[in-house]
Amino acid sequence: MERLFQRFGAGTLRFVDYLGSVATLTSEAFRSLVTMRPRWRETTLQVYSIGVRSLPVVLLTGAFIGMVFSAQSYFQFHKVRMDTSTGPAVSIALSRELAPIITSLMIAGRVGAAMAAEIGTMRVTEQIDALRSMAVLPVEYLVVPRMIAIAFSLPLLTAMSIAIGIFSGYLVGVEVLNIDGAYYLHNMYIYTEDKDIYTGLIKVFIFAFLVVFISCREGLHCEGGAEGVGRATTEAVVNSSIAILITNFFVTMLLSKIIPP
């Protein structure tokens, strides 16, 4: 029993320590954002790496999520002769939940892993120490450009995912399942509001910070050579994904009070 309590206590301490290190990194990054000179070159490279290079995978997942959600919605609405409700169901679900969550998880997997691996490798090969020895703060050089790039890119990627999801959902609904196209679009325009879209975009803006700070934290605290880099990469993806899913619930509830659906 005593051992159980010891383990629980040690686990709790590790968790609090982990949260503390992420919070410290967050505050350092925002402080640097104000005090440091802009690093346009690094930031542009990161926008390319995070935004442009993620585009194919985000568009592909967005398209197929839209298609499958359109088909599933149709199968249910068809039972009660409400086929044309498929349009608004697809657009609202994609805008509010599916596209933000799927895009954020894809970015956590693709970009979060890359961030942790790259920074972790720099850490174990003393490149981070080399930066510090040359009076360059790793947070300013490595974290802030990634933070700006992901905060800029993720909402744009999500918007594109929503657009292609709605379009592919329309194709499946109208061209494959023979829903009346005019009513599909009419109902979609009536029931989908601006706030459905910006609610989703506000959420991904928050998720962007979760991904960057959790992933960079894993890289900066990486220890133990190649094995450590592998562990940091896995932790970055798992922790970012869990943080996104948990935060999503609370942000959704909070936004529902501020912007009623």
């Binding site: 080399a130 510090r132 020895s133 040359m134």
Partner: protein
């Protein structure tokens, strides 16, 4: 002037430095020797401001750097050049941008002057014309030379060398040792070299200090160290293992 007093450092409860006292005069070439894992590199990282001790003080030109936060250390770090054991070149940058890194980052010179200074330091380390190569295309010795060029381009007053000849063939090691001497003599920098290579220590050291069990055991000229009556020192410089020393009685 670097003054270290009572420096202690533990990792996960295991003491590595147990009260180091050491002073290094301006323009002096000090070599710190000691067995693997005795804390030589840890001591060097404290001098570079990369680690904080548990207790003790470390003064550089009279200013204790121990209580300084990371951001306030930067002006002091700009006066210190570090050659890391594995050179620690940035993989994503070519040789030119690696060497010019600190000048570009701190906007310390105009682009034309940066190009000239990169060419100058590459010539000093015998690596002229390698500006466009990536670190992955370089051998271990070449990487160390580029690391050295990167460290000296900002004209530091203090140079720290972490195992500069480890992993190099004897000829390349000799070449690096000569570079250390050349830099020390030409630029009058204070040099601290951490090594377990006695050939290198004898060649570059004006003074040698031996770190043993987390403390400076002995310090003196290369000749004094060579003639030290202490068995631990003699066993180390002759490469006699502890087991063999115990068997000899």
């Amino acid at each position: 002037m670097i003054e270290i007093v009572g420096l202690k450092k533990s990792f996960a409860g295991i003491p590595v430095l147990r009260g180091v006292d050491l002073a290094v005069a301006d323009s002096e070439r000090l070599v710190i020797i000691g067995g693997s894992g005795c804390g030589k590199s840890v001591l060097l990282r404290h001098i570079a401001g990369l680690l904080k001790p548990d207790t003790g003080s470390l003064r550089i030109d009279g200013r204790d750097i121990v209580p300084l936060p990371e951001r306030d250390l930067n002006p002091i770090r700009q006066g210190i050049g570090v050659l890391f054991q594995g050179a620690a070149l940035f993989d994503s940058l070519d040789v030119f941008h690696n060497v010019a890194f600190s000048l570009i980052e701190h906007r310390a010179a105009a682009p034309k002057e940066i190009r000239e200074r990169v060419a100058e330091v590459l010539a000093v380390v015998g690596m002229s014309g390698q500006e466009n190569k990536k670190p992955a295309e370089l051998s271990g010795g070449m990487r160390k030379r580029i690391g050295l060029a990167r460290a000296i381009i900002s004209r530091p007053r203090i140079m720290l060398y972490d195992e500069p000849t480890t992993g190099l063939d004897p000829q390349m090691a000799d070449s690096i040792n000569r570079l250390i001497l050349k830099l020390s003599e030409n630029y009058r920098v204070t040099s601290i070299v951490v090594t377990h290579d006695m050939t290198s220590a004898q060649m570059v050291g004006e003074r040698i200090a031996m770190l043993h069990q987390g403390k400076i055991l002995v310090s003196g000229t290369p000749r004094e160290i060579q003639e030290s009556p202490q068995p631990i020192v003699q066993n180390f410089i002759r490469g006699i293992s502890e087991e063999r020393a115990a068997q000899r009685g």
